[in-house]
């Protein structure tokens, strides 16, 4: 202790002397800008945020979805989230990060380049957004990786209980490269949507509209589950789903507040916005359902909460909490209508409402960001416009819909998309994975 105190005192004295020694030159010219230093506060927060967002997928989403399927498919459903986590990690590390977040030169408007394949050139000293965020680029890449992981995992909700595992792996691997990384580049990596001024703080377009629409395409291409409409397909364990939804909520603070890339006031605003919107949406769904079917349900309130989380995602760092409140209420009501009524009206089997919650919620949130962006919260939101937001939404929808469809067709040719009718009937846990939770 004594030695430390002595050294500290010595250091301060030397520092003071050094300052005094700086000649009058300091008054003649502007001091040289010091090289940006790593911001430990920001870095600590981002390390934490990254862990929170990974937790959103495993086990958050895994359990949320797992509890909603029939017991004979619970392991297969959880397996999808876990396997995607592993698969996308490798793809992102090798090439996904590079094509999303580097300068592509001539293709920069649409796609990054290959300069950071295998994270080549990045060291422990490399900073991301030097002078702005000052966090290590390794941490930035990790943080973005957790987004690249959860987006495909969300899609799985649309084809739950009826997709072959091998087909899913191939589809997700290709999808990550062909759809996710490019769209991430368009909005956050220096591409044309960010350039146009599309406001998407944490991924309303990149993650939710993207996954939701891709999910809808999958649901339509794969077709309905065997027995859909006549068989009891009730959730087998909503307790698990509640645990999953809760992990999603807590983890989402990393998703939204972490998207600030800094531990500052805007991150704090994003956190509060997230909380307010989510609570409002949970209540909104619950109350609407209460009126329509006479009972407030657990599945309803957790679905509403997730819808709120989705909708506030693009808005979290641009709106004030009152705007977040409105966004939450809108999402709760509209996503309820989409999942419980629109789906039945059109007759498609989006098993776990990937489109109803993430697609519709993302669209609602992205549009309302254009309405409620408050420049006093974030000056980058000063030129907010619904039209610009619409461009971002449409571009995302078009690319993900077309590309997802093509990838599905390729996978169908390669290995087929669905298990046999018999295997689907017996359950994916046994037939795809040789495992069972039943006694």
């Amino acid at each position: 202790m004594k030695l430390n105190n002595t050294l500290a005192a010595l250091g301060s004295a030397l520092g003071a002397l050094a300052l005094l020694a700086v000649p009058a030159l300091a008054q003649d010219a502007a001091p040289a800008t010091p090289a940006p230093a790593l911001d430990t506060g920001n870095t600590a927060w981002m390390l934490t945020s990254t862990a929170l967002v990974l937790m959103m997928t495993i086990p958050g989403l895994a359990l949320f979805y797992g509890g909603m399927v029939r017991r004979k498919n619970v392991l297969a459903t959880i397996m999808q989230s876990f396997a995607i986590t592993c698969l996308i990690t490798i793809i992102w590390f090798v090439v996904g990060y590079s094509i999303a977040f580097t300068d592509g030169g001539p293709t920069q408007a649409w796609l990054g380049g290959f300069s950071k394949i295998f994270h080549n050139g990045i060291t422990t000293a490399t900073l991301w957004a030097p002078g702005v965020a000052n966090i290590p680029e390794f941490v930035f890449s990790m943080f973005q990786l957790t987004f690249a992981i959860i987006t495909p995992a969300l899609i799985a909700g649309a084809f739950a209980e009826r997709m072959k595992f091998s087909a899913m792996l191939i589809f997700m691997g290709l999808w990550s490269l062909i759809v996710y990384s490019p769209i991430a580049h368009w909005v956050w990596g220096g591409g044309f949507l960010g350039g146009l001024g599309v406001l998407d703080f944490a991924g309303g377009t990149v993650v939710h509209i993207n996954a939701g629409v891709a999910g809808l395409v999958c649901a339509l291409v794969l077709g309905k589950r065997k027995g859909f409409g006549s068989t009891n397909m009730a959730p087998h364990n909503l307790v698990i789903s509640v645990i999953g939804a809760s992990l999603l909520w807590v983890g989402w603070f990393g998703f939204n507040a972490g998207s600030e890339l800094a531990a500052d006031g805007l991150a704090g605003a994003a956190m509060l916005n997230t909380q307010v919107a989510t609570a409002a949406a949970g209540l909104a769904w619950m109350f609407v359902e209460w009126i329509v079917v006479k009972k407030p349900s657990v599945l309803g309130i957790i679905s509403g909460a997730v819808a709120g989380l989705v909708a506030v995602t693009p808005a979290s760092g641009f709106v004030n909490p009152t705007g977040a409140l409105v966004i939450g209420i809108a999402a709760g009501i509209l996503c309820y209508l989409a999942a419980a009524h629109m789906k039945k009206m059109f007759g498609y089997d989006d098993s776990l409402d990937a489109f109803g919650v993430h697609g519709v919620g993302g669209i609602v949130g992205a549009l309302l960001t254009g309405v409620f962006a408050d420049p006093t919260i974030n000056s980058l939101g000063a030129n907010h416009s619904i039209v610009t937001q619409l461009i971002g939404i449409v571009a995302t929808i078009v690319w993900t819909a077309v590309a997802s469809f093509v990838i599905l067709m390729v996978v169908k040719l390669l290995v087929g998309l669905r298990p046999s009718e018999q295997d689907e009937e017996e359950g994916l846990d046994i037939t795809q994975h040789g495992e069972s939770v039943a006694e």
Binding site: N232, A234, K295, L299, K344
Partner: protein, 112 residues
């Protein structure tokens, strides 16, 4: 010997067990089953999709008894399992051909 099979409401198990104990019946097998007779099921709604659940949870109790006891046992079960509402259940009595105690090899009435 007779095998008495009773389908009862799950909430009545403890009452039935005590009633049988007082008749010197100290062994029984209980299985969780589903079924319906005149009691209607219920419906469940998940995100707007309604499922009719026809089968209700019940308990099946199986007891092996001497012929002379069987009427008294049926009455005891009926009295203790009854709530007066639809869905109380049914009691069946079957002829039982043979019984063996596994530990000792005893057979017949000695094994009951």
């Amino acid at each position: 010997m007779k095998l008495v099979i009773a389908i009862i409401k799950p909430s009545r198990l403890e009452e039935v067990r005590q009633a049988l104990n007082s008749l010197d019946v100290h062994g029984m097998t209980v299985t969780e089953v589903k079924g319906y007779g005149r009691q209607k099921g219920h419906s469940e709604i998940y995100r707007g999709t309604e499922y009719a659940v026809h089968f209700l949870p019940k308990l099946k109790i199986e007891i092996a008894v001497e012929d002379a006891q069987s009427d008294a046992i049926v009455s005891a079960i009926r009295d203790s399992a009854q709530t007066g509402r639809i869905g109380d259940g049914k009691i069946f009595v079957l002829d039982l051909l043979a019984v063996t105690r596994i530990r000792t090899g005893e057979t017949g009435a000695a094994a009951l």
